[in-house]
Symmetry: C2
Subunit: 349 residues, 2 copies
């Protein structure tokens, strides 16, 4: 840590390079990494963001990959990741702490540098990557919900993702539509949202990138009629706010445990009640009966829709301000950094 | 390099983990890495081989991956590579020199350790990986033929692959069949071998793994009749020697520049003349008119077949003994290691 511990610690934030930081539309990991970098800068930290060259940040930007590999077919994802991660670690000595938002690939470099590495695990992409986490189990890990933890890892804290509240202004009144917002993938239960719409007789608007084309063709597309069920593709922040303005409730009937669920917080921030599957982190993000309802299936979701008017839109906003703001998240990461830096100082002393 | 430079330098050989080292059948990179490790041990070096746990070596074996990911579908290739490469570099301080047989992934770790890394480039898997080589262009590189070089890289030498001569005994006499031995892939020109067989009226035996199923279905399978053209799948060393025993000549009509061409040396070692496309390294491995013929197309190959009896089978063997033996290769690598260790000692002094 050099002789710099008494001045401002120098933090490197390692964002993925699948998308720009912050992403134009989809890209949850880059969104959170970007929010942390901006929040830290606002609170006076010395931050270097390692991200794509077209990223937008108030931090010092360090880039070796021009554009996100999801946005540039000329780039090999493995090569981009390799160059990006290696570059960061080759500069490790310039930092007091590295905050990695990477899946396992960065861990493989972590023991080759002296700078401590904090890894926020945004999700385990597959059970087949767990051997890497087990090898590096004594690193410093942060979970994004209490429910999304791998036993045996050295977790320092759970820090909920924070959203930029300014991007999702509170809307006093909603509309009559049900909305689905997320990747079109069976994990996200688009088919259950459609079923809920049918059971409740309410119209549904589906927005998001098609990640599973077969699922879309077979279980979503046949229901799209442009009236009861509409599909509008991916939306940016403005598009999300338009949807929130006409939303009666957001349906988030995930079929596998949710890891955090950024969109739940975004909808609540705008005042939109959320009907979520009681699976994974949803219970931590949504206050059952306060900012939405936790359900077990589409029938339960349809039943809960009748009670939506009981939810205070203001209470939705307030919970997000309290628990899921960038500011809250950044303050919690400051505590994580302090704990790690103290532990490292102890190792050296 | 610690205080160990006056005693035997400690060398780490980093073999890939796609297959066992040495591989059971296919696996050229593992074959060469294994030959180097065995050859170095035979010549008194202190060698640690990083390879799959089921590898067979006289060197010290260091393994974190049980079996080659090509032989074990439960293993994620990216995860296996990541664990394997990271493990090696985490032990870098125990070695005076690392000899990597990896594609670009190991380079990404190379600047994070003090131990010098020599990379033998067995092939550039795609033009999209070249940015990684360019970033690490000042490393120590070895090409496996003069023709397979990327301009701008710091090449220390060309070292031809060496084969274990004991595995491919000289056979005084061959047979009447043409043989093709290699991956079934358009790059390897199986279709040109078939055309040559047709033009010359000689029977052809094709052996190898089907790497491109569509190519096999469309351009190889329709010609297989069990008589004029036979396909026998992949073969091990014994299978290769059986083929060499009945071979009139080996056809190797590659359609892209060959990088080295182990099978050319193996065939020659057994005394089998080789008809090869004059593309890439073939000109370096085959003595035109001495151990085979270099040609430009199938018609040229068919014409040259008439001259095959002029080739001295003994001369084929002798050229391999002289140029492509494990012993020759290992002596050349010893010179490479000495040059690198000297240069590194100069850096430190």
């Amino acid at each position: 840590m050099g002789g710099n511990t008494k001045s401002r610690p120098r933090v490197a934030v390692l964002s993925p390079v699948a998308w720009r930081t912050p992403p134009r539309q989809y890209g949850a990991w880059e969104t959170v990494a970007g929010n942390i970098a901006e929040g830290l800068v606002a609170r006076g930290w010395d931050v270097t963001l390692f991200a794509t060259r077209d990223s937008i940040t108030a931090a010092r930007l360090h880039a070796v990959v021009d554009r996100g590999y999801e946005e540039d077919s000329s780039v090999d994802p493995k090569v981009a990741e390799c160059l990006h991660i290696a570059e960061m670690f080759e500069h490790a000595a310039e930092f007091d702490l590295i905050h990695s938002h990477y899946d396992f690939m960065a861990l493989a470099h972590s023991r080759l540098v002296k700078t401590p590495v904090v890894t926020t695990i945004h999700g385990f992409s597959s059970p087949r990557i767990l051997p890497v986490y087990r090898k590096y189990a004594d690193g410093y890990f942060v979970s994004i919900s209490d429910s999304d933890r791998l036993p045996g890892l050295n977790y320092v804290a759970t820090v909920y993702n924070g959203i930029d509240l300014a991007l999702y202004p509170f809307q006093e009144r909603g509309g009559e539509d049900l909305i689905f917002l997320g990747r079109i993938h069976p994990d996200k239960g688009v088919h259950l949202a459609i079923e809920t719409a049918r059971l409740s007789g309410r119209p549904l608007i589906i927005a998001g990138i098609v990640q599973d084309a077969k699922y879309f063709e077979e279980q979503v597309k046949p229901h799209i009629d442009g009236a009861r069920v509409r599909f509008i593709g991916p939306v940016d922040v403005a598009g999300k706010n338009d949807l929130f303005a006409r939303a009666y409730a957001l349906l988030h009937l995930n079929t596998i445990p949710e890891r955090f669920g950024l969109v739940l917080a975004e909808a609540n921030a705008a005042g939109v009640p959320v009907i979520a599957m009681d699976l994974g982190s949803c219970r931590e993000v949504i206050g059952d009966g306060a900012t939405g309802y936790l359900v077990g299936d589409a029938a339960g979701a349809a039943r809960c829709l009748e009670q939506v008017p009981r939810i205070s839109r203001k209470a939705c906003r307030e919970r997000v301000e309290r628990c899921f703001s960038v500011d809250t998240m950044v303050r919690q990461y400051e505590r994580v950094y302090s704990a790690v830096l103290e532990r490292e100082a102890g190792k050296i002393a």
